[in-house]
């Protein structure tokens, strides 16, 4: 599935930077292919927000210090504010807008966030949810965290208790202080 979009120049001709500072770049975003003529300075976050009107990924700090911009690139959670989009040519990007299924169906984490009231202002929420999606995959793939016990065997899935969830989501700040509810929401998805 997916479709083809030639999004063309992201800037109008008069203001575009010279050719040596632009590159045609193809990204697959939420299963849609986009080819854009990108200013090398443009980071993935601004491609999403400014060029494609996908404003689910938020700009909280623009410097990799808050996690609000978290998306999945080739299935891994990353801070989209620090990724030069030109360097991602050919990559698969999933944003919060791409998590839900068809129609009304929410991703289990989205549902759990609603059930647990795991947000207030909502600005960190897409990043928290994408980060949790990535963190669950990492634990399943055997990635340890700072709080994983030394006796935990390497290369095996790591069970996620609340301390593990807290540590693994610590790259996502929430100033409203929804942390306890977010941990519950992630637990709900870990333990059905």
């Amino acid at each position: 599935m997916g479709s083809e979009n030639d999004d063309g120049a992201a800037h109008d001709g008069a203001s575009a930077p010279p050719a040596e500072q632009r590159t045609a770049t193809t990204l697959r975003i939420n299963a849609e292919r986009h080819t854009l003529d990108l200013d090398h300075r443009r980071v993935l976050l601004d491609v999403l927000r400014e060029d494609l009107d996908l404003t689910g990924a938020k700009k909280g700090c623009d410097h990799g210090q808050c996690g609000a911009c978290t998306v999945l690139v080739d299935g891994r959670r990353v801070n989209s504010c620090l990724l030069l989009a030109v360097a991602l040519d050919g990559c698969e990007v999933t944003t919060v807008e791409g998590l839900a299924g068809e129609g009304e169906e929410l991703h289990p984490l989205q549902r759990a966030f609603l059930d647990r009231d795991a947000f207030q202002c909502g600005y960190c929420t897409p990043g928290q949810i994408c980060s949790a999606v990535g963190a669950l995959a990492e634990a399943a793939a055997g990635h340890p965290s700072h709080v994983t016990g030394p006796a935990t065997p390497s290369g095996r899935p790591v069970p996620l208790d609340p301390d593990e969830i807290r540590e693994r989501l610590s790259g996502n700040l929430c100033r409203c202080g929804a942390y306890p509810r977010i941990v519950e929401a992630v637990e709900d998805v870990v333990v059905p």
Binding site: A10, H11, A14, S15, P17, D39, R41, R42, D46, R49, E50, D53, L54, T55, A57, K58, K59, G60, C61, D62, H63, Q65, C66, A68, T95, V96, E97, L99, A100, Q110, F113, L114, D115, D117, F119, Q120, C121, G122, Y123, P126, I129, V147, P162, I165, R166, E167, S170, G171, N172, L173, C174, R175, C176, G177, A178, Y179, P180, R181, I182, V183
Partner: protein, 704 residues
Amino acid sequence: MAGTGTAPGATHSALGASAERREGRLKVTGGARYAAEHPRPGRAQAWPVPATVARGRVTAVDATAALRMPGVLAVLTHENAPRLAEPDDRTLLVLQDASVPHRGWFVALVVAETLETARAAAAAVRVDYAVAEHDVTLTTDHPDAYEPETVNGDFPGRREIGGPDGTPAAVHVDVGYEVTPLHNHPMEPHASTAHWDQDRLTVYSSSQGSTTVRDTLATMFETSAEHITVVSDHVGGGFGSKGTPRPDVVLAVMAARATGRPVTVSLPRRHLPAVVGHRAPTLHRVRLGAARDGRLVSLAHEVTTYTSHVREFVEQAAVSARVMYAAPHHFTTHHVVRLDVPSPSWMRAPGEAPGMYALESAMDELACELGMDPVELRAVNDPEREPDSGKPFSSRHLVDCLREGARRFNWSGRDPRPGVRAEGPLLIGTGVAAATYPVLVSPSTAEAEARPDGTFVVRVNATDIGTGARTVLAQVAADALGVTLERVRTEVGCTTLPAAPLAGGSSGTSSWGWAVHEACARLAERLADHGGSPPVDGLTARADTEGRADAESAYARHAFGAHFAEVAVDTVTGEVRVRRLLGVYAAGRILNARTARSQFVGGMTMGLGMALTETSTMDPAFGDFAESDLASYHVPVHADVPDIEAHWIDETDPHLNPMGSKGVGEIGIVGTAAAIGNAAHHATGVRFRELPLTPDKVLRGLGD
């Protein structure tokens, strides 16, 4: 415990229910749009240029290099920016003259086609300054300190009851505390998108109250408020820093006028500390004198803080002592110094948060001196009437909160001796502190409409900054109309709706809810006149609570609470981590258990940050905050926060508003820092009197 009366309107189940947030689905799917996320064709991006001197004047701005960059539309400076009429808040008078009152003050604004170009061009603007001497260092003996007439909230700066030569005290505490500057840092940086269409202005602004934004813009741009629409649909937190307009919205409107384009100004995170307000540092001296039985014979709380040269804002940190405890001699005062610092402003529970840290820490010290349980000390000093005004409390229930918290926290088994609970290198301790926050309420208007299809629409320019205003106002409406919640829709967050006050001072829900309740009650009456169903074109009722919501009350109205904390202090590293945190509140009727709990817990989390992680250092040489980003200013992360518990007692208070509610947004932060600090003392036997309790201070206190 909590009265026996029944609050008006308490007959329907919609009020108090744990209703799910109405905008929740939009927020978890990324569909909720914030102020910078409203693109229009031709929308340009702007980037401010902050001053790089602590005090002085701009002598020249050279924008040549910036203007040569392809895609740069304009560079606004004090020389070419649109002229503004003076607003009440002078921090909004940007690009109007050459003066630089503090480092970080905006001296230019670049408008460009893209964010990248705007940022690069802002870096290329060359600004020359005539530099003047500056002073940014706060001390208690600063020669320019003065005692202000009033402090924030219009409270008197100084109050004294009784004389110092009354009953002699058996036990004295005379201690000093320090709270560093603190930053609100909502997750959404301050942002505005503005667009002029002839003389009509549309603005999307990240604000806690768009009615005030509209009115301020009308003043500053000398246009009619009717020509301005301000939308604050979804707001990514504010915590006081978006309570009134900030420079972003003024700059966006100026830039849109100057360029004829829609313009977004989204402030870079590093710019925020200097231009959106912060909690000023406070230096406290608290003197308590008590009889052997614990009763206070004297209470003195003296606060020294700073403000800027742009405007006077005095953190009212001694005011909460006037509410908390009575004493034959009761003395509270503030001193403030005008320094060349960024302008301080509101941050969650201004006054109460730092003030109650100091007072409740001192009460703990007094309890230790007396050899008395700190819960009991507070109980014996619980006053009948508000000490300062002499008014009866509309409801208080602080002692109930303390007792309920003690029960839930298992306080009764506590060994009071400090420094005796070790788990290997960890020292464990528990602490308690009380909390208070005033019940504030402002007049509001609202409109309720009955539609022929049996649904209802409530309109009020409330702002949902994360409190769940849409949801709770629907509950208030459903309750007043006597209908199910599903039949009520709420429209908030736009100045085309009936005017309403800000989401701030824990007053939003009470203020808006009062007007919504009245409009709905009126609508219900009119519906009854129509035989229960509206005519084909619907039926509408309006309300305006002016004169009632702002009427002077015969009662002292405050929310109260009790906080309990358990901490572990690592004697190897000096790291302090909270293991348990519990709050019990007396906050009137809780209108939505789910969203109220989230606000309590959120406040406590911010209090945890104030206690342990958040610090900001004014750089004496450069005049700015050294911790200007989120890597260095340590907002608590997931790993810092245990499973925080928030509870409340059922409180029925007929002297508040038709819903019987007090505010819940701020009281959670008040007292949390003191409870954690008191727990750290209980753990270590060392009294730390400067926040936050970071390893450098704790190791020093532990004597390495």
